[in-house]
Point group: C2
């Protein structure tokens, strides 16, 4: 039967979860779907574009939420982190797709965060900068956390769980820094 975009993205996600981003190749994906490699290029212009679709699928779990601007930022970032951690190499894949400008959902999240910054009183020409700064933190710290997590799961030495236990607190601390920064900045300008 016919191959649809959704099937391809689903199979790619499964491949990612089971074997990681290094094994997520167009040829391997085609093999899993029992089509020729060229077939994928009927549905996607490039591997980058396909990875963007996988990123958007991963980020589907992140819905926006209510509350004041601080709660909205903290919640959005928390959910983003959870979504990334729930797929093997999820943070790395989304990070790469974001950098390549291939994730539409990531662009939406940026808008949500920029709106929260606006509510906080950040001047209109700086809300985008504030939102990006927050996103850089979430992506950077989660890539770090996940690589350590996965390294420990394989290597398994003693001091690993200590890091893992602290990672929630470390994430919360960095995020607090940014929220405090936004709050302080708007106070200074008003």
């Amino acid at each position: 039967m016919q191959l649809h975009k959704r099937d391809v993205v689903e199979a790619a996600t499964a491949l990612l979860d089971d074997y990681g981003i290094a094994d997520l190749s167009m040829r391997r994906l085609a093999r899993d779907l029992e089509v020729s490699p060229g077939a994928l290029y009927w549905h996607f212009a490039s591997k980058q574009q396909l990875l963007g679709a996988v990123a958007d699928r991963i980020l589907g779990a992140v819905q926006d939420c209510g509350g004041d601007w601080q709660e909205r930022i903290v919640q959005t970032c928390g959910r983003l982190r959870e979504a990334l951690l729930s797929h093997t190499d999820g943070a790395e894949l989304v990070s790469a797709s974001f950098a390549a400008g291939q994730s539409a959902v990531m662009t939406d999240l940026l808008a949500v965060l920029a709106a929260a910054a606006a509510d906080a009183g950040v001047p209109a020409d700086s809300t985008e900068s504030a939102a990006r700064t927050v996103v850089y933190f979430v992506l950077g710290s989660t890539v770090d956390e996940q690589s350590r997590l996965q390294w420990d799961a394989a290597g398994a030495d003693v001091s690993a769980p200590v890091w893992a236990e602290n990672s929630d607190a470390r994430f919360a601390f960095g995020l607090r820094l940014l929220v405090d920064g936004i709050a302080a900045h708007t106070r200074a300008d008003v």
Copy 2:
């Protein structure tokens, strides 16, 4: 004559500057050096390790500096950004090497930033988190900036220079957010 680590790193940097990270392959590098690909593996255990050495070469230009903790953070980040921007795909390469834990100099910079955070009054168990948050911002924003810069240099549409002019201000704003956050956080805790 004999091949030395320094020659390899130098040739790799030249290849990076002239053709970008996508063309920085072990085989192409070997061709430029007029050796067989296998020769490189006598001097470096893997491509990742070689890229780490290139990252450290790029970061050699970033020396540490004096002043109060705020000045030290702002200066260090400014110099880091300059170093990244002065090589094609420099931000991407250093970012990848940092994530892979292959850049010794990046670890030094982390320590410098952590020391500044400590001077600011951040509790000892959080200085590392503060430093990493700053580094995530510099790497993330500079990767972004550089990809836009290089895309414009090739594509060349109208609205490009506007972005370029604002990128200094955008960087400064994000950095200010973080410095304000560190300042606010320590005030709240003391």
